[in-house]
Amino acid sequence: MSLLEARGIHKSFGALQALGGVDLCLERGEILGVIGPNGSGKTTLFNCMTGILRPDSGRVVFGGRDITGWPTHRICRAGLVKTSQIVRPFLGMSVLENVLVGGLYGKGLLLKRARAQALEILEQVGLAEAAAQPAGSITVAMRRRLELARCLATGPQAILLDENLAGLTPVEIAESLALLRSLNAQGLSLVVVEHVMQAVMGVSQRVMVLDYGQKIAEGPPAQVVADRRVIEAFLGEEYA
């Protein structure tokens, strides 16, 4: 059975239909790429799966449990977390404290244990040097890694990464992808959303493509890239 399964997710905002019955399936230990142009409903899909939004219809099953309509924090504790597209560190807290919160609440650790774990994770993502700095004072690239570190601290089985690579330099992207691969190697399942195709293609084992709230393609990266509808969606009809 799949680790995470979303079936027939519908979501509308007033007259605007953001998702029109999307299915998503993530296997254990897999990296799934989700691509789609701006406004295709990727973030809405993530928000529906992590309880930030409530889908109008459809079900989300995680680890064999139906988590549809659960509050965000409960889904997090069940092992499914997401990073935000716009990074939202707790600005007034130090980098370490940011990660600490994840361990304390997401994983239910005691303070001492959570602190030790936070240090380990910061080491792993390469932020150990910045541990004592206020989260408001670090660079964008570091904030992206902090966002990931905070998620890792909650002890997840799957992480949804919402454009975690946006705004990074090629070198930084390469570093991040290496990090994602190593996390995946440790058994973590990942869903990576980007609208930059290249990055996702390199790291994903499987890719699905969203356009106007519909899934238009799914399969191994090479196959998806060749799909006529995908090219239309990304580049316009004349290129197809």
Partner: protein
């Protein structure tokens, strides 16, 4: 717990012990002034615990002093319960109301939360005023029992000490990180597993519980009150100002804010009868303009005391 944290705990306990011993030595009026200062430290600490840490501005905290005072007063008047037995019941009453109110209200944010809490406090005051069969309405009630003057000193000292202690504990434990995370970004906090609504509710109810007890004690100390004495919006405003002057979301903020405001008011009130409130207004404006982090925060900054905790 770090060594510095433990030291500050001992220092705090020593300060409370020294204050408890003071009545044996101190001059009488200062005991009275301190009694009132402790009372306000208690109230400001309650407000700070909820609002200072989460950033939710409660403009209706006086609802809980009012409920506390009336629950205790009516239990004494109607059922003849002894005063000390009514105090925890008053806290319980306030806590229960806070539970019922907090459940829906804590989903609001910013100015909306502020005005919703204010509206409820105002509505409760009117209910208390109109329901004269139970509360004797606007004429007020006379409380038949009173403790000895020094008992109030010790009780308020104890409660203020306890509440500052609770704040200290929260600051250094899991709960504090949760509250601060909510203050920073509630959505992000939920995404890393913080049950934001539950923590807010727990804190809100705890704070209301203690506000209720303080209100009940002060009601009995005054001996007589009417709805607009104990539900007064000025009580809330004072809690807010004291927390902010001292420094919101800090352990010692309410202590410094309450002591500062009460002492300054007492000092200036005796010397500049007609102008002292103008001066206090100017001081508040001055603090905001020149020390925007509150007295503690700004002093700490000026004295270059690093706020960072050792990792």
């Amino acid at each position: 717990m770090s060594g510095g944290g433990r030291r500050s705990l001992y220092l705090g306990l020593a300060a409370v012990a020294a204050m408890a011993w003071l009545p044996a030595a101190g001059p009488a009026y200062y005991l009275q002034l301190l009694t009132i200062i402790f009372y306000w430290i208690g109230l400001a600490a309650c407000w700070n615990l909820m609002c200072g840490y989460t950033g939710y501005i409660d403009f209706g905290s006086a609802a809980y002093t009012g409920i506390g005072a009336y629950v205790a007063g009516l239990l004494m008047l109607r059922l003849g319960l002894p005063l000390l037995a009514t105090i925890p019941l008053a806290g319980l009453g306030a806590g229960l109301v806070a539970l019922a109110v907090g459940w829906p209200t804590l989903r609001l944010r910013g100015a909306y939360f502020a005005i919703a809490t204010f509206a409820l406090a105002e509505a409760l005051m009117r209910v208390c005023e109109e329901w004269s069969g139970l509360t004797e309405g606007g004429v007020g009630i006379t409380i038949p029992q009173r403790l000895a003057e020094l008992s109030y000193y010790w009780l308020y000292l104890g409660l203020a000490g306890l509440l500052v202690g609770v704040t200290w504990w929260v600051e250094h434990h899991k709960h504090g990180y949760g509250l601060k995370a909510i203050h920073q970004d509630e959505q992000a906090a939920a995404q890393v597993g913080v049950d934001t609504h539950l923590i807010k509710l727990q804190t809100y109810v705890t704070s209301a519980f203690f506000i209720g007890m303080l209100g009940a004690l002060e009601g009995s100390r005054l001996g007589y009150f009417k709805p607009d004495d104990v539900f007064n919006v000025h009580i809330t405003i004072k809690m807010v100002i004291m927390s902010l002057l001292g420094g919101m979301g800090t352990v010692l903020g309410p202590v410094i804010g309450a002591s500062f405001l009460q002492l300054v008011e007492d000092f200036l009130g005796a010397r500049f009868l007609n102008y002292y409130l103008v001066i206090i207004g100017a001081i508040i404006v001055g603090v905001i303009v020149f020390l925007p982090r509150g007295i503690t925060g700004s002093l700490r900054q000026r004295l270059r005391i690093r706020p960072g905790r050792r990792p």
